[in-house]
Amino acid sequence: MQRIGVFVCHCGSNIAATVDVAAVAEAAKNQPGVVFATDYTYMCSENGQNLIADTIREYGLTAVVVCSCSPRMHEATFRKVAQKAGLNPYMVEIANIREQCSWVHKDKEIGTPKAISLMKTAVAKVNLNVPLQEGESAVTKRALIIGGGIAGIQTALDIADAGYKVDIVEKSPSIGGRMSQLDKTFPTLDCSSCILTPKMTEVAQHENITLYTYSEVENVSGFVGDFTVEIRRKARYVHEDICTGCGLCMTKCPSKKAKNEFNRGLNTRTAIYTPFAQAIPNVPVIDTEACIHFRTGKCGLCAKNCAVQAIDYEQKDEIITQKYGAIVVATGFDLIDLKPFGEYAYNLSPDVVSSLELERILNAAGPTSGHLQRMSDHRQPKEMVFIQCVGSRCEDDRRGKPYCSKICCMYTAKQAMLIKDHYPDVNIHVFYIDVRTPGKAFDEFYRRAVEDYGVDYIKGQVGKVTPQADGTLLVHGVDLLDQKVVEINADMVVLAAAVEPNPDIRKLATMLTLSIDNNNFLNEAHPKLRPVEAATAGVFMSGVVQGPRDIPETVAQAGAAAIKVVGLLAKDKLKTNPCVAYVDELYCNGCSACQNVCPYGAISYTQKEIRDHGVREMRRVAQVNPALCKGCGACSVACPSGAMNLKGFSNRQIMAEVDTILCQ
């Protein structure tokens, strides 16, 4: 039997005005297990706290009920008091007689009996409380960054500079991401590679950073502080540790017809390749679908020409397993598929390009060596039309996205100015819905395009782009302000396509039990107050994987994610919530019902010897990982045999509350 003390708070007159607090204390004295009951003006005051602590010692209390405000207000306070007085903090229960009694009712004759029954309910529950211990788990001092774009690079550098080990897993053969494909960046027009390449090099040379390019996360298990991750290192067929990056193999490769992904398919590359000249690591990979040796068994020119014998056609994928304390998801974005936008003739004409394709065309390292030209006939265009919001702000989910992609207004102004800088005779028309430029020096940037460069902004949209016999593109649109049809014979049309999260995120979200929104962006633990943390403890996010954003915002968020990771890795041990699920192995029949409803992957199964009525046998029984369990209790309801239970809210405790709460 517990020795329970009941403390009834007046909360000044907040409670005492509508509840006869003395009567509640008096009634408590008759309750089973109650050895002490009193009332006091402010239980949360220092005197009130001392009253509780002293009584615990003096009466040798094993449990405490405080009848006061909501547990959401002061449960933590009274638990600390108990702990200081030598009582397990989880032996404290609160009866909410303020928010849910005295403030709801106006009459003492109603408030008092209700407060008494709430007190009785808390006593009934606390009679069944057991001391709970907060667990501890160790922290592996190493972070994993998934994605090697600017978001992942910056996060990795910030964590590594703080002194922790970081691994970057990047799917493609080089880090750099989308930013490495850009020409210049708004609103300052810095050259993208000029500011990115030094960071890439820094990553490669940092003693705390390990790079796994051409690699993918295969499996994740474990929990905050102790993740175990399997990484598939895809076969490059080139030994990273031997290759000197001389590039001779690429010049000798006779298979030159493979689609160049880095240049968005605008030109071709060799079968053995690095995506771009500044690739990190500067080690080529062999595209087996394009390679003559892999298709026919012949050729082998790259291997023959490699002075250091780095090429190995027999190389196999390799799985490495590594432990991490924290994981940052920074998988970035791609543009949406433009095929469903047939009205813009994207499928019909090579001179209708996406904004990212134009970025490659403008880039000195791109397919046209930075010369602005049409992909059909390599002529320099004279009339160009930009169409904004292609697939953005579009409720039709068969081809678009409901959100604003945020970066398009700015990069369009940038592309227009870059073109006008180099080719002042090009006429540029921009069809827009709204021009959105919130950001430091952003609107000024856009206005410069209009006022200084004479870019023609047309408020309206384009209905159809029709290729003409003379090779031009007839752009048919409407100027909504003039209420007039606008027809432009353009040489090139640029589509500002919506951004969308990298499709890999779905698979990754399942592995990491992350929640994603309807558009495949990751959900934050709290959209305002915990913007870089996932709901799953120990997982963080950085960059466009969370929502559309530009480079400065991404870098800022990368820093925020890094400090969260560093804050976690700086701890030696993590405290765990003790109100977690537990299993009565005797009743467990290993049916997996609990595992299926657990949103955190906290339940696994093990073969265990069970003694049941004197019989020993091996059984498959559930086991709960307390570090992963968040204590929602879904498993305890799903369990058909009643084996699953929840500490702090056990079946018996809740039943005791139900039994008592309706008493008069």
Partner: protein
């Protein structure tokens, strides 16, 4: 907005089943309209006219009789406002109030030729006659 206009608006919204508040005034409908120059009130204006309750202007517009019913605006509207259905709705409301049609039956014989398909006559009658 007069009471009568309020009634017409309600009727148009019911007939069309459209939600004009979703319109973001992008102009894709007008840009897609093959009969844009034949319209006095343009497709993209319908949503705001209806939102404002300026129904008399819509009821008297040429647009409701000149719309081709080609659904290009309906297909391409990124907000599912479907201006073509709004135009259809206003035309229906107009016909119901006038108790008759735009094109009179006696006008028709002079306009047909030996190849005129039944489909054409049926369509005109269905679209323009109550």
């Amino acid at each position: 907005m007069t009471k009568e206009e309020a009634n017409i608006r309600e009727e148009v919204l019911l007939i069309s089943g459209c939600d004009v508040s979703r319109c973001m005034k992008c102009g894709k409908c007008s840009a897609s309209c093959p009969a844009y120059d034949e319209f006095d009130i343009k497709p993209h204006q319908f949503a705001s006219y209806i939102a404002r309750g300026d129904m008399n202007a819509l009821m008297q517009s040429k647009t409701i009789w000149n719309c081709l019913g080609c659904f290009a605006c309906v297909e391409r509207c990124p907000r599912d406002v479907r201006p073509g259905r709004l135009i259809d709705g206003v035309r229906q409301a107009a016909m119901r109030r006038r108790g008759g049609s735009h094109l009179q039956p006696e006008d028709i014989p002079s306009r047909i030729d030996p190849d005129t398909p039944q489909q054409l006559l049926m369509s005109v009658l269905r679209r323009e006659r109550k």
